[in-house]
Symmetry: C2
Subunit: 795 residues, 2 copies
């Protein structure tokens, strides 16, 4: 049994209250079972026959009664206390439960008018579940009131915190399954409470649901001695309240008591911080709900225990159409909820079933918090000219692009100081990524102990730094999905840590784009820096440019990738990304000093086109076709390409060289494959259809082939990029090791342009010699050749 | 202050012991600083001048003194207790520390004879660090005694547990930085202690090193009240012992006491389980080490505090060559260790410095545990014929491929019952993936509470199931790196969760392949199942075939990807993977009933070739060139392709159709790009260079283009695959939604073979009609068309 101080006092529910709560819960359970099994006879007005049952039984019953219990009790407190509430359903597999509740409260029918709140609508509700052309089996974008799919487990709690940030009046309840609790992302996200500002942020109420089993195993947390579990949860910074049982009436009483206790404590903690100026980190309450898996379902099937075991995970009775005993058990299970007491003759929920349901937008399925686009305001962005670096001629000055962006972000932070709808997240890398100007406008969120030596920590800060890419991603997703804006700055290599999370977010965006009732949300913007070519302190483990490849596998309508080559192009791209909606924008940019190539006006035009010929860098005079095209994407490849162009201009002045810079990499795709793709006509106009193209690319070289393989000129395309050769070495040695250096590019030109091999043999040898000189020099001196380190553009 | 019961009693160190420990620690600190800064004058035999200092200062000082302290004290207990020990250095950024210790104990010179244990060797040791042509800045494959890079944080503790499994005599100490402790994978892996068998596994001793700061922020755990931190660690199942301080002598005494207390407790717990038959889950000790970041380094630089702050993270004095004050501080810092007391005139460590160092293979840099290939034994695999399914003719029978593989794995489990050098890991999916036959030979590791309803839980089991892909991956990596074998079975979509972990493992393998002294280890084998085409219960969130794309971005020498189309080919591929060394093998296979196409003997030949023409499936008669090639990779695409071939045979009998099945997808690459790649001659012999190829592929279609773009026939290659269209629907509807179905493939043939468009217009219409009929049928019936559901091969 739980220790006394964690057992909340029962709330004084009247018998009528209790009956109403139980009726609501039974109704939701009935509707959940109905969705999994039935395609006809929804109210059991006639005896159940095999043909009433779906031919394919899909879905997850096990978690559903627990979710229904939480929903029922949330209804009560929302109604009683007039709460602005959102719920994250971590066990998203329990789609039938959340859909059932939405239908009961009416929000489902308001969203999908053909699923009426009557027998016909109930039949439709049942049949559509996990049925072709119907709705998915999980809580999904299609589910009213949800911002969380919950198919891939781990992100519920970070989503909940993201939703609560800067929503001081909001209560975010988060149901965490004990399976999900074993995942790394979930385990890390408990510490989010060290970052939640009790003044400006709302409250998160975790409900750890211990139903004891995963697919086929007990869960770790359910098998800890209760004292040990309490230590863990207190160690996470919470005060746990326990609700344990399998007798519905007792559990209803205990749950109501726990809810009231938790909400009273939250109110007290918020009041202390907001009115009394308390600065101590609150110890927030949470609820540990321990009920049987598949509660109220069949106790035994075919002689094996089911309720309260892993066998209740999906479909407890699997052979209902063929096995009369299963059919009988299903009917008896459904009738155990006494549907005739719950629904009237027309199939509508009876008033007592709805007694606990709140009104209007207070309903969990109707809250605009879960349809964040409705609440989204345009982000106040400064005029780019304010932060643009002056560029009179290309390559005459150097700036650190991300530092320049930091100045812009400082303005955004400052402009949202009152509105509080912009956050910058990152895994302890904001300063390393040279964005620290933002601290002038907002410090770093921090509720734990501070010491005099600390800098920029701020109880009310909107920069979020925790050494967990998962938590950063989850926070930002939750924040965006509830109608706000943000940016995630991350070391390029380690953004792979959230590969699977971004998969799920893109899937969410793709689906919501097809749902008229879902308003567009702000894009999820990544700034990937400290990139593969400049990981000087860290070497091979920190070198991986493959996130772009990963992203470009996703639905083209929702993904954008940018390689701004300098400071002003980074400003332009970031501005565009921050204004955009419903995308994942990936911006890869450097933090090291980088030549300024384009003025702000040129940068705008170039970024709007996505790619373009840099006349000034090649030999374009409007009269000659190029002999060769030097293409580049990324800051370091751009510099090497321009250095190669300069070498060629000096060594082979009669060679017609075109330089093309690509910012928006999806431009290389055919127009029919990506909204930013180019027609062949456009492509050939830039790259030609028959001249050698030497493409210096930031990442894995085959990505460029994968994008451009349909082009006529593809056989003339030769790509240089990162080929997994790295270690701790000098910046120029990194490009040499991967054959992306200026000398190699010149050699590539000589090797590929017809007729040059003989004529330019001496130049080729000179390039080869330079590479050898480089090798010898760095091994002796440990720094790059002066001719490289001090190189400047003389165009 | 820590509560009394967590402060261990100090061990009675003599003054001589203390002096020796401190000398060793100072020597290691000196060598760490020397590596970061010096390229000459290693013993400071002359005043330090700018030219002695490296021109580029790289590396991480902050964590190094703590790592040196742990190493020094591990030396003492290893020597005193004759321990078989391995250490995982989670803060792998502290490369200089671990390298310094290896050099001191002599293992570095044994591994790299040119880095002698004298002044010349010390000079080389210093210069090579983070220097072109030298060694990386982190603990790396190049570091003797390491199995863990530690650049990407999060995996230290799961690696430690993996190493300890089935090594009953081994002590694995695991240093966990407080930065790393914030990551999800690390947070999840604390619960590994519920899976560690005190009888057959060794011990893991976590040392949580709270140096207080990350790159630029305080750490969460260091800023918890000590009582709250203790609750957390007890909640994780540990008994924490605290060592806190900054006075070296006091810390040495406390650390020695903590080490002795921890090791005594471990011995007692192991004895209780092994000799007294105790079955209660042990509460293992751990150490919380709280010392300043950059301890013993400069207290202040340029007027700002450095020691004990985040400013000590990398290079505390950054301008040594140009700033005389920095140079003076560096010299004074180095001399503070009193090198003249530590090294003799020749530069060798003095005997008192080495007094604590163990001998031979007991040294942490010399243990064969960290070079697991040395200990690896050949895995006892059964003859495949034992488990092969009989195939008299193709497509006459059905089997669930993974279930057949489960029988083979059962044999492997049984054959290793005594040796205990094989483990199966997975996130609660072993049974879902239909491998449950293994439970006949070994249950699931589980040390927590058991209940009567549980099945297959086993205190001594070697099947590992936790709902954390990260933990599964970390366990398996640690297990393989210490010389054992294993397999990771995972839902295909969610293996992306470990994208970044497999990145690091492939990087490790790639590097070790270049180190002669590293013996090859068993490959990391993935079985990806419950794949994109058959996620019937879960839908869109569980559909993602992109891991293969991710893997094929990695070093070709270390990655292999297989798509066995049926049960016998899966057996053959799995057998090959389990015998292989130093690869990451990805096997994508189905768990649903699948036609048996090849006999065991045919499967062996087919898999050895990696791809091949299936004469029996096409119209091959040895006389005609094909009009079209139907290629396929993956079980579902293979079935659709054969169904298309059958439709074509019936509808267009004079069309010459070749069917090619691809198992080893890297065969499509050019020979010069992958060891399994084909020459153009081979490729054209299979696919032709000028005929239409309709390729039905399991994953994202552009991967095939990315592999084959250099082939002459590439312009005739038309690929169908998954294009991110999914939901909860019928199996056949999934392929229809993605245009991979048999009808669409036939239409593709008609559209692509010259002359067919007109001649086969009626057939094309028939296919189109079938697709429409499908759409209508499933929306009414919820199951696939009988003609599809009951389809059989009639070849």
């Amino acid at each position: 049994m739980p220790p006394d101080d964690t057992t909340p006092p029962p709330t004084a529910l009247t018998e009528e209250d209790l009956a109403a709560l139980d009726a609501h819960w039974r109704a939701a359970n009935y509707l959940a079972v109905g969705q999994i099994y039935l395609m006809a006879n929804p109210l059991l007005t006639e005896p159940l026959r095999p043909e009433h049952v779906k031919p394919r039984l899909l879905g997850h019953w096990g978690t559903s009664p627990g979710l229904n219990l939480v929903h029922t009790h949330l209804n009560r407190v929302i109604r009683d206390r007039d709460l602005d509430a959102l719920c994250i359903w971590g066990p998203g597999h329990g789609g039938p439960a959340v859909v059932a509740n939405s239908w009961l409260e009416g929000s489902y029918t308001e969203t999908y008018p053909d699923v009426t709140r009557d027998a016909a609508g109930m039949a439709r509700l049942f049949k559509q579940f996990s049925f072709p052309g119907g709705i998915p089996s999980h809580v999904a974008p299609e589910t009213p009131g949800s911002i969380h799919e919950g198919g891939e487990l781990g992100y519920a709690l970070s989503h909940a915190y993201g939703a609560a940030l800067d929503n001081p009046g909001l209560l975010v309840t988060c149901v965490i399954g004990d399976g999900e609790a074993e995942t790394g992302p979930l385990a890390a996200s408990w510490h989010s409470n060290k970052f939640l500002d009790p003044v400006h942020d709302g409250a998160v109420l975790p409900v750890l649901h211990l139903n004891g089993y995963k697919i086929a195993n007990p869960t770790v947390l359910a098998r800890l001695p209760e004292e040990e579990l309490d230590e863990l949860l207190r160690g996470y910074g919470h005060d746990p309240l326990h609700v344990t049982g399998e007798d519905p009436a007792a559990v209803h009483r205990a749950m109501a008591g726990a809810m009231d206790t938790a909400l009273d404590r939250i109110t007290a903690l918020q009041r202390a911080a907001r009115e009394d100026g308390a600065t101590e980190r609150p110890r927030w309450p949470m609820i540990v709900l321990r009920t049987p898996k598949g509660w109220t379902g069949p106790a035994e099937v075919d002689g094996l225990p089911v309720e309260g075991t892993w066998r209740a995970h999906q479909v407890p009775l699997a052979a209902v159409r063929d096995n009369p005993e299963h059919l009988r058990q299903l009917e008896s299970w459904l009738r155990s909820y006494r549907p005739e007491e719950l629904f009237d003759a027309q199939g509508a929920p009876r008033p007592e079933v709805l007694a606990c349901v709140p009104e209007g937008e207070r309903r969990l399925g109707a809250t605009p918090r879960a349809n964040g686009g409705l609440l989204l305001r345009t982000l106040p962005l400064p005029p780019l000219e304010k932060h643009a670096v002056p560029v009179d001629k290309p390559g005459a000055t150097l700036h650190e692009p991300t530092r320049v962006l930091g100045d812009l972000l400082e303005d955004v932070m400052a402009a949202t100081a009152e509105r509080r709808d912009f956050r910058l997240v990152g895994p302890d890398e904001t300063a390393s990524n040279r964005l620290q100007a933002v601290y002038e406008a907002s410090g770093k969120a921090w509720q734990a102990e501070t010491r005099p030596v600390d800098e920029n920590l701020d109880r009310h800060g909107r920069v979020m730094e925790i050494l967990s890419e998962h938590t950063c991603q989850g926070w930002l997703e939750g924040y965006l999905l509830t109608g706000r804006h943000g940016l995630f700055s991350c070391y390029e290599a380690f953004v792979h840590i959230v590969d699977s999370m971004v998969n799920q977010h893109v899937k969410w965006l793709r689906t919501t784009r097809r749902l008229d009732w879902r308003a567009p949300i702000a894009s999820l913007n990544y700034l990937l820096t400290s990139h593969v070519w400049r990981q000087d302190h860290n070497g091979f483990s920190h070198q991986d440019p493959g996130f772009v490849d990963h992203i470009l596998n996703k639905s083209p309508e929702a993904v954008r990738v940018y390689f701004p080559p300098d400071a002003n192009t980074l400003l332009s791209v970031a501005d565009h990304a921050l204004r955009s909606r419903n995308y994942v924008n990936v911006i890869v940019a450097g933090k090291q000093p980088c030549f300024d190539w384009l003025s702000m006006e040129e940068a705008r035009v170039h970024c709007a086109r996505g790619l373009g010929v840099w006349d000034w860098a090649g030999t374009e005079d409007g009269t000659r076709e190029p002999d060769v095209v030097l293409a580049c994407a990324g800051d370091v490849p751009t510099q090497e390409t321009l250095a190669a162009a300069q070498l060629l201009r000096g060594r082979l002045p009669d060679l017609a060289v075109r330089v093309v810079n690509v910012v928006d990499i999806a431009r290389l795709l055919p127009a029919e494959e990506h909204p930013h793709g180019m027609s062949d006509f456009e492509y050939d106009g830039v790259f030609t259809s028959d001249k050698p193209v030497i493409f210096a690319y930031h990442g894995y070289p085959w990505l460029i082939h994968r994008l451009a393989y349909r082009r006529d000129g593809h056989e003339h395309l030769h790509v240089r990029g990162y080929k997994e050769r790295g270690t701790t070495t000098t910046p120029f040695d990194m490009v040499v090791q991967n054959d992306l250096d200026r000398y190699r590019l010149v050699m590539d030109v000589i090797d590929r342009v017809p007729g040059l091999a003989v004529r330019a043999a001496a130049v080729r040898q000179e390039m080869q010699d330079a590479r050898l000189r480089h090798h010898e020099w760095i091994r002796e001196h440990g720094v790059d050749l002066p001719e490289v380190a001090d190189w400047t553009w003389d165009g």
